[in-house]
């Protein structure tokens, strides 16, 4: 029975999650584009010399957060930078990308630091919500998403660190992940023999399970801010 559950998580659920992510974002965009625009502008001044560029800068570097709370800004930037590296790292787990290897590195990139930064910053975000006034403005969604991210990161980080440094006899190598993930993309899905045979299969399955939940929740939760942020910043400058 467990084999079937693991297989469901590792293959059909990944497709379901990915489809939910893509269709969900497309649905959100459709809703936005059929919604009426406003007649004038609700921008605030100063708009900046090149408003569109300023909107992009605001989205990536969040100067308003820097102005208001510098330590928090550092955590936000660290989290999002690490998340970007995380996505790049996962792309390299599908296949080799010469462009990413411009700076030669061992896959998974970051030597384990990407996961550690994400775990630490997620814990910070979570614990911050236990404190007034953030506790009062938080809703269950905020805690659940942070917990979900924490669980995804902790298992992923374990896989990365244990594999790289040979901790606890971890025996799943990058080539095994690459075989599995690339098979998903080439519509011949299978879980590689190395993962199936490993006693650490449960760790991989849990990581994939939480990542699947993340993808499914993404379009329908506040995580959509990463997509809509640019548009909102542009309205502020338009």
């Amino acid at each position: 029975m467990w084999d079937s559950i693991y297989f469901f998580i590792m293959v059909p659920m990944v497709y379901i999650a990915f489809a939910t992510l893509v269709i969900g974002i497309a649905f959100k965009f459709t809703i936005i584009f059929i919604s009426p625009t406003i007649k004038g502008t609700i921008a605030v001044f100063p708009k900046g010399s090149v408003p569109k560029l300023c909107a992009v800068r605001d989205s990536f570097f969040m100067p308003s957060a820097f102005m208001k709370d510098k330590p928090f800004w550092v955590v936000i930037i660290a989290f999002h930078a690490a998340f970007l590296l995380l996505i790049i790292g996962h792309l390299e787990l599908i296949r080799e990308f010469a462009v990413i290897q411009v700076i030669p590195h061992e896959v998974f990139l970051g030597a384990g630091w990407v996961g550690i930064v994400l775990i630490v910053t997620t814990i910070y975000f979570l614990f911050r919500r236990f404190k007034t006034p953030w506790r009062e403005i938080s809703v269950p969604e905020d805690f659940i998403i942070l917990l979900l991210l924490f669980l995804t990161f902790i298992f992923g980080s374990h896989m990365s660190l244990a594999s790289r440094y040979g901790i606890a006899g971890f025996d799943i190598q990058v080539s095994e992940y690459r075989e599995y993930l690339s098979s998903l993309f080439t519509t011949s899905p299978h879980v590689s023999r190395g993962i199936l045979a490993s006693p650490h299969y449960v760790i991989v399955a849990l990581h994939v399970f939480f990542a699947n939940l993340f993808m499914m929740m993404f379009p329908f939760s506040k995580m959509i801010h990463s997509v809509f942020m640019f548009a909102a910043q542009f309205i502020k400058r338009k």
Binding site: K28, I31, I32, S35, P36, T37, I38, K39, G40, T41, I42, A43, V44, F45, P46, K47, D58, M62, S64, A65, M67, K68, D69, F72, I76, P133, W134, E136, I137, S138, V139, P140, E141, D142, I144, F220, S221, K222, I224, H225, F228, M229, A231, A232, Q233, I235, K236
Partner: protein, 361 residues
């Protein structure tokens, strides 16, 4: 609240879900960076008076009726049904926001709480629980727009009295035509407020500058905007727009009221004439040498407090400073000018429920 009313309010809410509204309702992470940026919160430190607290009141109702998670698992995002309690929360939230948009500057996503509050106000109007005094003021503005001919003679009489004051300032004896009205082919249509001070002093300046101008029959203030009723706001704004079109003016000049200026300038779409603030016009007249001031004639130093609408809403920063520097020795109020606290008390007292207004003031 009966089901029919709830359906009616939900349908009303749907009509106001424009693009910015959808962005703002969806992307807040409740990071709390805006929490203490609200001057109302600084006066009354309760969650309900923080920008995020206000926005959440609207967002929770939105989640309940427009998000699958809110329908299926309301506790996921604290989704709330529309009932008398939530309408009271909307009232508290919407009319304790003065629309200064200081929180928008601090929000990492640029969420405009004032825009979100427009949704709350629309729901309150739909529920017939919007503040009565604002409804009456907006209605009387609308009524004046519908039957302006009945008001014209009385208003002309008042203006004739004001012309005497203008003559005193100018040092002339002839008062006729110092405040022209209904002047076809005028370059400027000036829109003042109900107070004499908002008409007399601009009239002195227009006369000194030998401007070809005309005074509007209407006051600049837009109670439709304060009330949050888009239809009334548009109607009230259109009174001046139609007057300006009928006279064929090139420029409409608005008295130093931030909201009154912002509406024709930015909120009702393109117009066939230029819209300026009186501050910009005075600045222009000085630059063009049309009027002169006694330079550095006032020795007192002062701190200039930027009006939030003029500064954040319209970007008028340098002109008032240059005007002041011409006559005074001002101390500038700070480097980070776009996050100044609003100078709000008047507006706040008018726009908040009585108790909150008093505490705030």
């Amino acid at each position: 609240m009966d089901i029919e009313k709830r359906k009616q309010l939900t349908a009303l809410m749907k009509t106001r879900l424009n693009r910015p509204m959808r962005y703002y309702l969806d992307l807040c992470t409740r990071c709390g960076l805006c929490y203490d940026t609200c001057h109302v919160y600084q006066g009354i430190p309760k969650k309900e008076y923080s920008p995020v607290g206000r926005a959440e009141v609207v967002r929770r109702i939105y989640k309940k009726y427009f998000r699958p998670s809110g329908r299926l698992i309301p506790s996921w995002g604290d989704a709330k049904v529309i009932d008398d309690n939530s309408m009271n929360e909307l009232l508290e939230a919407a009319f304790s926001c003065t629309g200064c948009r200081r929180c928008m500057v601090h929000c990492p996503f640029g969420i405009d709480t004032q825009h979100l509050m427009s949704m709350a106000k629309v729901l309150l109007i739909g529920n017939e629980t919007a503040p009565e005094e604002l409804v009456m003021l907006a209605d009387s503005s609308v009524e004046k727009g519908k039957s302006i001919d009945e008001f014209k003679d009385g208003y002309r009489e008042v203006i004739r009295d004001l012309e005497k004051e203008v003559a005193k300032h100018l040092g002339v004896t002839e008062t006729d035509g110092l405040i022209p009205m209904e002047k076809k082919g005028a370059d400027i249509l000036f829109v003042g407020l109900a107070g004499a001070h908002s008409i007399v002093h601009p009239a002195v300046i227009f006369n000194k500058a030998k401007a070809n101008w005309s005074l509007s029959f209407f006051e600049a203030v837009n109670f439709g905007a304060f009330l949050g009723d888009p239809e009334k706001m548009q109607f009230i704004a259109n009174r001046v727009v139609n007057e300006a079109k009928a006279l064929g003016v090139k420029e409409v000049v608005i008295v130093e009221c931030g909201t009154a200026y912002r509406i024709p300038k930015f909120l009702i779409g393109p117009l066939p004439f230029k819209v300026s603030s009186i501050v910009e016009v005075i600045h222009r007249y000085i630059k063009e040498g049309k009027i002169k001031v006694k330079e550095k004639s006032i020795a007192d130093s002062l701190t200039y407090h930027d009006p939030c609408h003029l500064l954040r809403g319209q970007g008028i920063r340098e002109q008032p400073r240059e005007l002041l520097w011409a006559v005074l020795r001002p101390e500038n109020s700070g480097r980070v000018w776009e996050v100044h606290w609003p100078c709000h008390p008047g507006a706040a007292a008018r726009r908040t429920p009585p108790l909150a207004g008093e505490e705030q003031a």
